[in-house]
Symmetry: C2
Subunit: 333 residues, 2 copies
């Protein structure tokens, strides 16, 4: 049905190999035949069949992105979406396609990863830290499949390519900003230390502390848990400012504060990680640490393509963060 290489070759009176070489452009072909073949390709509206090409070459011109997101979880959604845009951008720049698979615990787990890797033959894969088990690493290494982790991994940090947000720096910025504004007792609210990004944020927080004990309030990823921790913070009369692990946490805290007539930023300063587009429109607008997951995605994809070319090109990197000051920490000294 569809027009094939051979159809083009026949019509042009040349062999299939010649047409193939014209398309790939990597070998010398006389200008005359080249033009002829190009015009015939146009005429017949020829499109190479990538399946066939891939079978012959052994490359799929495709990379995979595995995510482990609860479909209805906003946090993972928003994070996911901006990094995926970055990844897709770089893939497209390299004339690659991007296959996305959600790897849910509920579903038949590793099946989807295995399919991607061993059947679809993606040329490389980007994974979230949580999915990275030691057996998976072994499998990937054994099969020489390039991969990069979208975040700092728990194992083999040195032997694996990964990109993370510079979370410790984020906490540094937040902490010193609050001190500069005259706050004296800063608390950290949200997340669990099982999450490596939270762990890093807490490290950064602790490192920048001045004349105070760390005041850490971990939470689970649920409204109740966060509300409870927020209440506890507000009870603690020492605390005059809080670094929140994400926007929802910041909003829950902010709401609880309002209900107790605690004024923001006068009585309580708030900074949040992640700059959701909404957070500048709410009141008080939230001072935020900008975590550029789009760039993180770009970087991850770039690393992956380096690995695809040279399997030994292991690197890591941290995406820089910045602080945007808004009302929630703008205390008039």
């Amino acid at each position: 049905m569809a027009v094939t290489l051979n159809d083009v070759a026949k019509k042009a009176g040349v062999s299939a190999s010649t047409v193939s070489r014209v398309i790939s452009g990597k070998e010398k072909i006389s200008d005359k035949t080249k033009e002829k073949i190009f015009s015939i390709m146009k005429e017949l509206d020829y499109h190479p069949n990538s399946q066939a090409r891939n079978l012959a070459t052994g490359s799929s011109q495709t990379i995979g992105l595995v995510i482990n997101a609860n479909e209805k979880d906003f946090y993972s959604n928003i994070f996911f979406s901006s990094s995926v845009f970055g990844i897709e951008k770089i893939a497209q720049d390299n004339s690659y396609n991007l296959i996305i698979t959600n790897n849910q615990k509920k579903r038949n787990d590793k099946a989807s990863i295995d399919t991607l890797l061993f059947e679809k033959k993606v040329d490389g894969i980007i994974l979230p830290p949580l999915l990275l088990t030691k057996t998976l690493i072994t499998k990937l290494k054994n099969n020489k499949i390039p991969f990069v982790i979208l975040g700092e991994p728990n194992y083999f940090k040195d032997k694996i390519s990964w990109v993370d947000i510079n979370n410790t720096k984020g906490s540094n910025l937040a902490t010193s900003h609050l001190y500069n504004k005259g706050y004296k007792q800063i608390a950290f609210l949200g997340g669990s230390e099982n999450e490596i990004f939270t762990k890093n944020r807490i490290i950064g927080y602790k490192n920048s502390l001045n004349n105070q004990e760390p005041l850490i309030f971990n939470t689970e990823n649920s409204e109740e848990s966060i509300t409870q921790a927020a209440t506890e913070i507000l009870k603690n009369k020492k605390v005059d400012s809080v670094i929140c692990n994400d926007n929802i946490t910041a909003l829950i805290l902010s709401k609880a504060a309002k209900e107790q007539n605690i004024q923001i930023p006068k009585d309580l300063g708030i900074i949040t990680f992640d700059d959701y587009p909404l957070s500048k429109y709410i009141s008080p607008a939230l001072t935020s640490i900008v975590t550029d997951t789009y760039t993180q995605g770009e970087m991850a994809a770039n690393m992956l393509f380096s690995l695809i070319q040279d399997k030994t090109a292991i690197t890591h990197s941290l995406i820089d963060v910045s602080l945007i000051e808004r009302e929630s920490s703008m205390r008039n000294l």
Copy 2:
């Protein structure tokens, strides 16, 4: 390097066809050889090469999703992410993979779509309404490529499969909710009638109006434009309630109102389309029309698989909406 069908066949002392048949499971093979082959496949850790299979069968076991999103635009991101999860879910249920391509004007435009479609990378494709030009439709039809539109299309509504949110019903719900709360003069704020979803929302709004003229304030997708329209609304002393086209619009309006000491919901009722997870935590919490884009994605994918099986199975459908009442419209009568 990798284990092939033939390796398995040789080791089992059978022909490749037999192994192939065992795998596909569609033909009679004796239990004895079946078991033998299965155990050898395990032993050798055999994975079928989908490139080869696809070349032989002509199917790619992959569907495509084309989006046209500005990578840094939150609106499109959040919309995109939930529908993509729905699509991916259904793809996985059907043992298909999902390729995602962002079709940016800046980039070489239709190249990405063409690659997906005509190089046999996908068996079908999901497109946003904006990308659907008449030439593309012709091309798709000519090539018998199954496709469904993620939203109501501008052309050929009857001859194309599509799923949209029931936007008119959304406006109906919002309007009658506001009337029930005792508001008398409802305005519609945001969006442009070029967007078909906005158009439908305005139709629904007009249809449910009671003893009032339509009060429509369209905006561009920019902060200034929205702020300006919001200011204008607040000047119009008739208006006592507003249906906003999205959350950011609602927040900008809400902020402007606060600055003028207009009280929500007492002096001004607000309802917004789309229920962002944040909107229940802000103050006033926003009454929202829930637009279930996850289900929309699922539905789109299901439609696509119907089309893949039977190219004539054209259908359309609207995803039901609901209203969640929160503070911004809770006037004490």
